[in-house]
């Protein structure tokens, strides 16, 4: 008992276990260190690459229009606007259709059909971006050009400035539609999971009040699952902001602010992909990386938001570890 004090010191060391465990801990921690260093490196390198343009154009880069590689005058406003338009356009489109599809799967379809339909829609997630781009460029865009866009131009164009464009096929409209299809599986899958998690007694409580099925679905079940649904939309938004190649193939390309839904333009990601191999000067390259930096900051903010949103939601359902 009196010898307690000196005994406490070696105790700490031995508690850590044998040599195998020490090597194991060092190895795993080294891996974590390498990975975190890579993550930090990505930020550093992007800032480093953008630095000449940041120094030259400052924050004004974000609010100026104009993209002139010859005179080295660059402003990213059209791409920022393009990114927001395309991402939100696609998110709302896919959000509406995706949520309704999820409701149809969980509330309307018979049980034996729920699995197969969910599986088929999840298949959409397996198709690579470039294949969506291919379909958008070679099928959807020509189709829009010959039918929908002609009709819009002739019938809506004279009345609304926003529809008064030329039918190119490729452009904002194609990009938004293709991106919306790409977001569908994400939104359907996550919304469906949120709807399925609504407890049975919540549903039955609604029916016990004598409500019609539709009122139970829209008045009780969907609001109950709203955290999951909002989470799926935010995750979809994150995806949409960063989608590169499918958008690059369908948006056409352009350096000015869009005026109509049929205009061509660029998003932050697609301008890098399409212009990167055309780069003629260091400042041009740096301006593109500056676009990348803006994109990185936006997506990180959205994803951190989504992380906390989804975590809070899963915690509420009690399966948080």
């Amino acid at each position: 008992m009196i010898a307690e004090a000196p005994l406490t010191r070696p105790r700490e060391k031995k508690a850590r276990g044998g040599r195998g465990d020490r090597i194991y801990h060092v190895l795993i921690k080294a891996i974590v260190g390498v990975v975190l260093a890579i993550f930090a490196g990505v930020f550093t390198v992007v800032v480093f690459g953008a630095w000449p343009a940041v120094k030259r154009f400052g924050p004004g880069f974000l609010i100026h229009t104009g993209w002139d590689p010859v005179h080295l005058v660059f402003g990213a406003l059209p791409f920022i606007v393009g990114t927001i338009l395309v991402a939100f356009g696609a998110m709302f489109l896919a959000g509406g259709i995706g949520l309704m599809t999820a409701v149809c799967i969980t509330e309307l379809l018979p049980r034996w059909l729920q699995g197969p339909v969910t599986y088929l829609i999840e298949l959409l997630a397996f198709i690579p971006s470039v294949v969506y781009g291919l379909f958008g460029l070679l099928v959807l865009a020509p189709f829009l050009q010959e039918t929908v866009e002609v009709w819009i131009m002739e019938h809506l164009g004279p009345h609304f400035e926003v529809f008064n464009g030329a039918p190119y096929g490729v452009g904002y409209m194609s990009a938004i539609l293709i991106l919306a299809i790409m977001l569908l599986p994400l939104i359907v899958t996550l919304s469906r999971e949120a709807l399925v998690l609504v407890p049975r007694d919540v549903r039955e409580g609604g029916y016990a009040l004598g409500l019609q099925k539709w009122d139970v679905v829209w008045g009780i079940i969907v609001p109950y699952a709203r955290n999951g649904i909002v989470g799926s939309l935010v995750l979809a938004l994150g995806r949409a902001l960063g989608e590169t190649i499918a958008v690059a193939m369908t948006i056409g390309g352009g350096y000015s602010l869009p005026k109509t839904v049929m205009d061509q333009g660029y998003t932050l990601a697609s301008v890098i992909a399409n212009e990167f191999n055309e780069v003629s000067s260091d400042m041009y390259l740096s301006a593109l990386i500056y676009c990348g930096l803006i994109l990185l900051v936006i997506t990180v903010v959205v994803n951190v938001l989504a992380y906390f949103l989804v975590r809070r939601l899963s915690g509420a359902h009690g399966f948080k570890a």
Binding site: I28, L36, V130, I181, W214
Partner: protein, 290 residues
């Protein structure tokens, strides 16, 4: 009395029709979702099947605009790039997953690492391309297979890390305690007991990550670049199937367009088939972890 009865039956009717209309709309939405899938897959098969033949798989691309030729270098390049990415992504990803689930617990550092992982899953892949361009392509003055594979591997890391952490956490705590209680050191508990119990899930996560990077194009534009020939060195530009699809889709020739569909069909079915086979091969071991 009579009039009251009438109004209530009218609102009843309206509610009924509203339900029919509402559910009808959800049905239409589902048809649109399924229609998108079937039109893309259908078009791919319809247009692409004609391009696929033996020569398409084993030959090099023909001269510009000419008929014939194949995508053999792209297929080979894809295999090489995906292999490099696996060498980078799998050990690092699984290592981080093990750290988060088995070692870190609820420490502050662990939650920072967890947020970093989840954030990086959402960082656009082209950003990884920019990173590798500056650390590898620019210093060596050449686009290369190594650079492309590294970019894809970095994209894999957070995906594998997250799925690994998730499935390891599903392994009951009691298995770990039982292992420790018979005197097994922690590293043996992790590798002999926990990982085997979660084997099916770890492999599925790996497949998802590989499938995801096999379809990546954007970072390769900045790193692997693509070319027309069989790969000869890991330190030279290399072709890859999505780069080939991109090039052919954007070209002006119908032959190219058809070959783009053919390549896309091979890519989609390759990814689907690969995942299916791997999943089937792990199924019988699955029973043990139940």
């Amino acid at each position: 009395m009579a009039s009251k009865h009438k109004t209530s039956s009218r609102t009843g009717n309206w509610r009924k029709w509203r339900g029919v209309l509402g559910f009808g709309l959800t049905g239409v939405a589902t048809l649109i979702s399924l229609g998108a899938l079937f039109s893309i897959l259908g078009y791919l098969i319809h247009q692409g099947i004609g391009a696929i033949n033996w020569n398409f798989i084993v030959r090099e691309p023909a001269a510009v605009g000419e008929a014939g030729g194949g995508i053999a270098p792209s297929l080979l390049g894809t295999l090489i790039l995906v292999s490099i990415s696996m060498v980078v992504g799998i050990p690092l990803g699984i290592g981080v997953g093990i750290y988060l689930s088995e070692i870190a617990g609820g420490t502050r550092f662990a939650s920072v690492a967890r947020i970093a992982i989840n954030t990086f899953i959402g960082v656009p892949s082209i950003i990884m391309g920019i990173f590798v361009y500056f650390i590898l392509v620019k210093p060596t003055n050449t686009f290369s297979a190594i650079a492309g594979g590294l970019a894809l591997g970095i994209i894999m890391i957070p995906i594998i890390a997250r799925t690994t952490e998730d499935v390891l956490r599903l392994v009951p705590k009691s298995i770990r305690e039982a292992g420790l209680a018979i005197g097994a050191p922690k590293w043996r508990v992790t590798f002999d007991l926990v990982l085997p119990a979660a084997r099916a899930g770890v492999i599925t996560g790996g497949i998802l990550a590989v499938a995801r990077v096999a379809g990546e194009t954007a970072p390769l534009i900045l790193t692997a670049l693509g070319n027309e020939y069989y790969p000869t060195s890991l330190f030279k530009p290399i072709d890859e199937i999505t780069l080939r699809i991109l090039k052919y889709a954007r070209g002006p020739y119908d032959v190219w367009h058809q070959q783009a569909y053919g390549a896309a069909l091979i890519l989609v079915f390759g990814v689907a088939l690969g995942s299916l086979l791997l999943r089937l091969s792990t199924r019988d071991h699955d029973a043990l972890s139940r």
